[in-house]
């Protein structure tokens, strides 16, 4: 996509909630807002099977075609920037129809250098059953990731993502996912890395589809994790669920904005969003703007947001069992973050996420 197109777009107004707290000028790598630098390094993407076996036929990672993008946010400033930075280079992860995998796939995305970028297009053919672990890592100063996916009819697509870039990186993610008719998609994200992180994740559901998004974010130091989550039901008889748990310590800040839209005529939609924030220190801060627009009436739509400190009763209980306050707090925070994935239907992904979180929090959560 062209740099000219990027330059032609106006800077998004802060009146738009998705841009309210972290404006584009704060995210741009050089501050020269009209420019897209030339020296982006493509992140290294490696596909393998979790259990080390050979990739089955029907699964491939090959160069893709940027012009065939299905990104919902093509006119978004950040997306246009990332596409220009990719300069036409994309990876297509293709899973043929009727592929049933017995063990999860593993995609490693490693970002290094001063500026790094990657664009991944996921195609899952009809009637497939796939689990994928995505491990995002690297020392890049600035990393942008575009991901888009089309999940075919009656598929089961489950992914677990660990975003663990270095603690000084700026990480920008923009994604759009289309869950096809009668398909089920779950996406679970453990957001740990990066100092300034902004994610714009959008999903759209077809009839009979189920879409579940679970996010756990841990804030330490001066980390700033900004999630914009958009789910649209253009038609009905489908179901979506969003759960995001933010734990904020030190001077970190979590921003969660969401837009759940149920279009006119989308009867039979069942949608929910839950935003939970756990504030652990005096200077921590959490902002939540869960938005709901409902234009059909035979639906069930609800959202909830809550912000609270550590429960002193819980702390007391744990300490009465011999744990010191640091251990108790760690356990509660770990439990809080893992609870985001409570409804995850796939154990393999759930267990992997728990394992990663335990390493990250340096405590034992697996019982």
């Amino acid at each position: 996509m062209s740099k000219a197109f990027y330059a032609s777009l106006a800077e998004p107004s802060q009146a738009i909630h998705a841009w309210k707290y972290t404006p584009w000028k704060k995210l741009h790598p050089t501050g020269k807002l009209n420019e897209v630098p030339d020296d982006f390094l493509e992140a290294v993407v490696i596909l393998s099977m979790m259990d080390g076996s050979d990739l089955p036929s029907g699964v491939s990672l090959e160069r893709g075609d940027d012009s065939k993008t299905s990104l919902l946010q093509e006119d978004d400033k950040a997306v246009a920037f990332l596409r220009a930075a990719c300069d036409g280079n994309t990876w297509e992860l293709n899973i043929e129809a009727n592929t049933i995998l017995s063990s999860p796939l593993h995609v490693s995305i490693r970002a290094s250098g001063h500026l790094s970028v990657s664009h991944i297009q996921v195609q899952v053919g009809n009637n497939s059953d796939v689990e994928i672990i995505w491990a995002l890592s690297g020392e890049a100063g600035w990393f942008g990731l575009l991901r888009e996916g089309i999940i075919g009819h009656a598929c089961h697509y489950h992914e677990g993502i660990e975003q663990a870039l270095s603690s000084s990186s700026t990480v920008i993610r923009a994604e759009s996912w289309k869950t096809g008719r009668d398909a089920t998609m779950t996406t679970s994200l453990l957001s740990i890395g990066g100092e300034l992180v902004r994610s714009d994740l959008r999903a759209i559901l077809d009839k009979g589809a189920t879409y579940q998004q679970f996010i756990a974010s841990n804030g330490k130091g001066i980390r700033r994790d900004n999630h914009h989550l958009q789910v649209t039901h253009p038609v009905g008889n489908n179901q979506s669920e969003l759960v995001i748990h933010n734990a904020c310590d030190d001077k970190s800040r979590a921003i969660s904005t969401g837009r759940l839209t149920i279009a006119k005529g989308a009867d039979g939609s069942d949608a929910s969003q839950i935003f939970k924030n756990l504030l652990l220190s005096q200077k921590a801060r959490a902002d939540s703007i869960p938005e709901l627009e409902v234009l059909a009436n035979d639906v069930s739509a609800a959202h909830g947001a809550a912000s609270a400190p550590l429960d002193p009763e819980q702390m007391f209980y744990l300490m009465s069992r011999g744990l010191d306050s640091e251990e108790s707090e760690g356990l509660i925070v770990g439990g809080f973050l893992i609870a985001a994935f409570e409804k995850l239907p796939r154990d393999s992904i759930g267990n992997w996420l728990k394992g990663r979180l335990a390493i990250h929090l340096d405590c034992n959560l697996l019982e």
Binding site: S13, A15, H17, K264, G265, D267, N277, L279, L280, S281, Q282, K283, A284, R285, A286, D287, S288, I289, P290, E291, L292, E293, V294, L295, A296, N297, D298, V299, S300, A301, A302, H303, G304, A305, A306, S307, A308, P309
Partner: protein, 498 residues
Amino acid sequence: MQFKSRIRAMIGLSQQMHRRGINMSQEARDMSQEARDAVGDYRYGFHDPENATIRFDFGLSEQVVRDISEIKNEPHWMTEMRVKAYKHYISRPMPDWGNSEMLNSIDFENICYYLKSSKGSETDWDEVPEDIKNTFDRLGIPNAEQKWLGGVTAQYESEVVYHSIREDLEEQGVVFLDMDSGLREYEDVVKQYFGSVVPYSDNKFSALNTAVWSGGSFLIIPEGVHVEMPVQAYFRINSKNMGQFERTLIIARPGSSVHYIEGCTAPTYSTDSLHSAVVELIAEEGSHIRYSTVQNWSTNVYNLVTKRGIAYRNSTIEWVDGNIGSRLTMKYPAVILKEEGAHAEIISVAYSGEGQHQDAGSKVHHLAPNTTSRILAKSISKNGGRSSYRGLVKVSPKAHNCKVSVVCDALLLDADSRSDTYPTMEVSNQSCVVEHEASVSKVSGEQLFYLMSRGHTEEQAMGMIINGFFEPFTKELPLEYASELNKLLEMEMVGSIG
């Protein structure tokens, strides 16, 4: 509630109550309901022929603003504030959020910004001009002899024509005047507080209001005084293109309490009407202000209101806000919890029918420790109406141990209607607990079936469910408002099915 019904029982049924169906006991309520059923529909679609004595041309300019101030004989500082506000108003762009389509269709040039219809404020009902009395009569507004009502300031065509203060309120030292008289008689107080809660620079419409305000209520409750009976005011817009820019200022001194009710109706017009009011509340230490509104403007009215209160130590501010009418209402009653122990309670209900957009909500700002707030917002949309909740909860770093709860419930009665919820929560203090929940659904078929199995038609069943839905709001209103509201909502259900 019980105290009031005892008082009314003592006074006895009067002519007023038959006309307005003001209820005193279950029996009286049944009888008046029967009487009203016999009489027929509620009708507010009427107005008196214009008989204004002073009237400005349409449109606004600095000269118009100065002229308004001059006619009112205002002190220099007020004139200057008006002019500054006017300048801010014209330089400030329209908000870039909200229903821009409707906002941008308001023709500001085609509105008359000032109208006065009688010589001055009357204290004696007899001296009020006849046709004005007729209007109030038809609306069933009680006259000075109603002892149980604290005092009534009635607004007609931008100027207060009638007000009265009960003797004991005067004895208690309560000041209840129209805003113009307040400025005249209590200039220092007004100078201190006017614009202190809602400065003219707050938003475009507070600037407009500050420039052209006229009428409204001025209320001071002295220290330790508890006003038992609700204090009421009525508003009306009459002539075409009439805008209402009333300004209300209520100051509750430490330890005092008051319940103020604002209820308004307006006839139907062919051209647009604009209502842009500002209400400022100051609740000093340990005081309690409750401000109730039932807004039922006709559907050509744009209702853009800024209402805000500052709550000091251990005080409480309650907004009880009902939005039934108007084409577009944008109103977000707000409370700033400035000192420790302050509490805010906001109950907002919105009803949106065809062509309507109720864009209402609430704002609370927790600035101090141990402050609490509770917000309940309920809305119903039908026939393509749109109800939006826009809320802001802001917790500052110093607001330790505060607790906030927001509950939003929306009912969509048909496939054409719309509901939006846009809450914002900004929490910068770790020890506070903030909870927000919202849900949108339609009336359950099972509930309808259950009620219909008891002999009610679908419309009647719907009416009951909807009244039940709004019950947490209605029960906070005095009885006659509550039954007025119930009847209104039940009427709205007729013709809505099928």
